[in-house]
């Protein structure tokens, strides 16, 4: 991979954009970036809109670094990135729905988040009168004996809403097309103009299972913009909360994946373990999911006095209970038959989509923001990033199991090395200057990107949070192809993308 900086170096960097530079580029360079993305020399981290402008965060170089490129589009058009680099397609469709900025030569001009039921069109750009909803044109598949199976957005079980359109030949899936956006809450619009603490609360509620990681990402972006450093103890506490969140989610999902193969024993045992983690979190930070524990400037709560003792007990319990469960998973042939070879995500696709988290790492993409875009305290922690190349459901389960073990090791290290002191630094109040900040934080699903622009006085002017699911949902469509319809729930669970975090 090459670094984007040489291409962009000639362009003026935006002032006050921390910690990585943001450069305002022209259309030619924008196209060069698209070509570099398409050639695999750079990875797309995010693409988002702004008032009369689009921003693109790319990752590249050795060691990898983030660069943000901005393109002004005074006439409401910008050259499509998705035309050459498919991962950008859904971002462009969302930009069009939210800001009215059009990717001029885009291949896919259908709406994405806007289902025609909002009170205004392009609510973040120049709001227009709503149009009557038009039927959504699903992609067609032509062939003898093909039939369509529409699933959702209301499902038979209690899960988040999303529509899946299967085209199947008998039981074999020929094409899956997702339609998301049912849980769009307008988070970015709500954040615009909100005070920092209010925006932080919104960030914590993007996706409940990643609340800690989203909060850390948002807090780090705000701190970068304000050039405030959180106290050392807060940084360590954040890592502690993030690893607890990762352990809880991985344990819950390992059980849930097995339950989707009707192997309820794993779910029962894993749920007990997850519950122990959540209760320990409640005792340590006052909330089971640790929502709002992380605040811009540090932590809003300190670790409870008996926290270290509880967490040591928790680590010991999981280390005692998990290996027999892994053994059970290994030894149940009927379960292995379901997971091995099912829903294979090819490494090339994972690389092309810069797919983060366990989904990418199970398909050979060795990227972890904690290691590659290191942020404290991970520079002082010893951990491995498990990578497998099989890319099937089984590989994703095993990466998660290995990540649980790594996280437990990290929790022990954090408890041993945690400094004492204050946990919350004061943010500049009404006299705060404006600024821009960006942060990439590893949540349990993968790298979460947060970008904020603050107006003077501690007000969020514009914020963007990109959930890792944005780059994982499209890959689910690819992974299910050629599998049987009945294996979709298993594949879907092994990805476990966030609906809420994606729809925002």
């Amino acid at each position: 991979m090459t670094n984007a900086t040489p291409i962009l170096g000639a362009f003026p960097a935006a002032p006050d954009h921390m910690p990585w530079p943001r450069r305002v580029v022209d259309e030619a360079i924008w196209r060069v970036l698209s070509a570099r993305l398409s050639a695999g020399e750079l990875s797309l981290l995010g693409l988002w809109g702004d008032a009369g402008m689009v921003h693109m965060a790319v990752l590249g170089g050795d060691p990898v670094a983030v660069t943000v490129a901005s393109l002004a589009c005074p006439d409401g058009h910008f050259p499509s990135v998705g035309r050459e680099h498919p991962p950008a397609i859904r971002f462009e469709r969302a930009i069009r729905d939210l800001f009215g900025l059009e990717a001029s030569d885009a291949l896919d001009r259908r709406p994405w988040l806007d289902h025609g039921v909002w009170s205004a069109r392009t609510p973040l750009g120049r709001p227009g009168a709503p149009e009557a909803p038009t039927p959504y044109a699903f992609l067609t598949s032509v062939g003898e004996g093909l039939h369509q199976i529409p699933v959702g957005p209301v499902h038979a079980g209690i899960i988040e809403p999303g529509h899946f359109r299967f085209t199947a030949a008998g039981e074999t899936v020929v094409r899956l097309e997702e339609r998301l956006g049912y849980t769009h809450k307008g988070v970015e619009a709500l954040m615009a103009g909100a005070p920092i603490d209010r925006a932080a609360m919104l960030a914590a509620r993007c996706s409940g299972d990643s609340t800690v990681a989203s909060s850390i990402a948002f807090a780090r972006a705000v701190e970068a913009a304000l050039r405030v450093a959180p106290p050392p103890r807060a940084v360590w506490l954040r890592a502690l909360a993030a690893e607890l969140e990762r352990v809880a989610n991985h344990l819950g999902d390992i059980g849930a994946i097995c339950n989707d193969a009707a192997f309820a024993v794993m779910l029962a045992h894993c749920s007990v373990l997850r519950e122990r983690v959540l209760r320990a979190a409640a005792n340590c930070f006052g909330h089971r999911l640790m929502m709002d524990a992380v605040a811009p400037g540090g932590m809003s709560v300190d670790l409870a006095a008996d926290g270290p003792k509880l967490l040591h007990e928790l680590v010991a319990t999981i280390r005692r209970t998990l290996p027999p469960l892994v053994e059970l998973y290994d030894d149940t042939a009927s379960l292995q038959d379901r997971t091995v070879g099912t829903g294979i995500l090819k490494p090339e696709l994972a690389r092309q989509f810069a797919c983060g988290g366990f989904v990418g790492r199970a398909s050979g993409r060795s990227f972890d923001a904690r290691r590659d875009l290191v942020y404290p305290p991970y520079d002082r922690l010893r951990f491995e990033v498990p990578v497998r190349r099989e890319g099937d459901v089984d590989a994703r389960v095993r990466v998660r199991i290995a990540e649980v073990e790594e996280s437990l090791t990290m929790i022990v290290q954090i408890l041993a090395e945690m400094p004492s002191g204050a946990v919350l630094a004061d943010l500049p109040g009404a006299d705060a200057p404006g600024g821009e900040g960006i942060a990439v934080v590893e949540g349990f699903r993968g790298d979460i990107l947060a970008w904020v622009r603050l107006a003077p006085g501690g007000i969020v002017d514009r914020a963007h949070l990109r959930d890792p699911s944005w780059l994982q949902w499209p890959l689910l469509e690819a992974a299910i192809e050629g599998n049987i319809v009945a294996d979709f729930p298993l594949c879907n669970k092994s990805f476990n993308c966030s609906y809420s975090g994606h729809d925002l």
């Binding site: 369509q148 193969a261 009707a262 309820a264 024993v265 029962a268 009927s334 379960l335 319809v485 009945a486």
Partner: protein, 318 residues
């Protein structure tokens, strides 16, 4: 005892199967929950569910024809009659002359036929998906069951269940390879027919993996109650069938006294409990198989039935 006695036993039998079947389902659920260290639903929950469903409004899809409304009653009737024909605690049933294994197979086949039609009737994709899967399984499960019936008929010299049970109780039955094969085959067919793990998951909420549940997804209210009760009856029927043929001990013979019948009832309840525990244990230890593995699984049953029949032709002693 004569006609009156046979009639009273037959009526008792019909009521017993109807009243006990939700209990068996509830019992299996409780045992499964306990194996998963959950508290589980109360034992009587299936009864409450049935009463609740019966009281609820039945919503019928716009595109549904008369078949959709009629199917639950047809399915229930066929299953209930089939379940009433299997000797549970006594062999002296009034209808025992018609309690033929082939009749039972045909009744269950008709019930399945109507269920599959009803699944397709409303025209939703899940109904069609479930019906096509059910039929795929049925093409193997039904011949397997027929082969097993033939094996038993060749051994016992009759397809009549009371005669088969009587023969199994007699000392001349001995230890036979073909009987063992028939037992394994029948258990496999029973698991598949009752939509249990590893073929189908009775507790699933994942509409794409359902087989039985997908067919009945559009049913509600009293229609759903009928179908649920039919499924419960079917489970009881298969357990009773296996018990009657392979563990007939305790069955009250024809013209037996009242006490023998009491023993029969006690033995029957014991057999049901044992079967429920075994089923729950089995379901807890395996994962569901891929849809396309099910034909292999049922193919084993078919092959076992076929082998058992052939063995009977080759050697009288096996």
């Amino acid at each position: 005892m004569g006609l009156i006695g046979d009639l009273s036993i037959q009526i008792t039998q019909m009521l017993v199967v109807l009243l006990l079947s939700p209990l068996l389902t509830g019992f299996v659920r409780v045992v499964k929950a306990r194996l998963l260290r959950r508290r589980g639903p109360p034992l009587l929950q299936p009864y409450r569910d049935l009463i609740k469903l019966a009281r609820k409004e039945a919503i019928v899809a716009d595109g549904a024809s008369w078949l959709f409304r009629a199917a639950p009653y047809l399915i229930f009737a066929a299953t209930w009659v089939a379940a009433a024909l299997v000797p549970t605690f006594a062999t002296g049933l009034l209808f025992s002359w018609s309690a033929d294994l082939i009749v039972i197979t045909a009744l269950l086949g008709s019930a399945r036929f109507f269920l599959a039609l009803a699944g397709m009737d409303v025209g939703t994709s899940f109904g069609g998906l479930g019906s096509s899967r059910e039929m795929m399984f049925a093409t193997l499960a039904e011949p397997a069951l027929i082969m097993i019936v033939f094996t038993l008929a060749l051994i016992a010299g009759s397809t009549q269940l009371s005669t088969v049970a009587g023969f199994m109780l007699s000392p001349e039955v001995g230890l036979r390879v073909s009987l063992g094969m028939a037992l394994i085959g029948l258990v496999i067919v029973a698991i598949a027919e009752n939509a249990r793990i590893p073929v189908d998951n009775p507790a699933t909420h994942l509409e794409l993996t359902m087989v039985h549940e997908a067919m009945v997804l559009e049913y509600s209210g009293r229609h759903l109650a009928m179908i649920e009760l039919s499924s419960q009856l079917k489970l009881l029927l298969y357990v009773s069938l296996i018990a009657c043929v392979f563990v007939p001990w305790g069955l009250a013979p024809v013209d037996a006294g009242f006490s023998a019948h009491l023993v029969g009832v006690a033995a029957y309840v014991g057999k049901l409990a044992a079967a429920g525990i075994l089923l729950a244990l089995f379901e807890t230890t395996v994962a569901k198989m891929r849809v396309f593995r099910v034909p292999d699984f049922l193919g084993v049953a078919l092959m076992l039935g076929l082998l058992a029949t052939l063995l009977r032709f080759v050697s009288r002693g096996l």
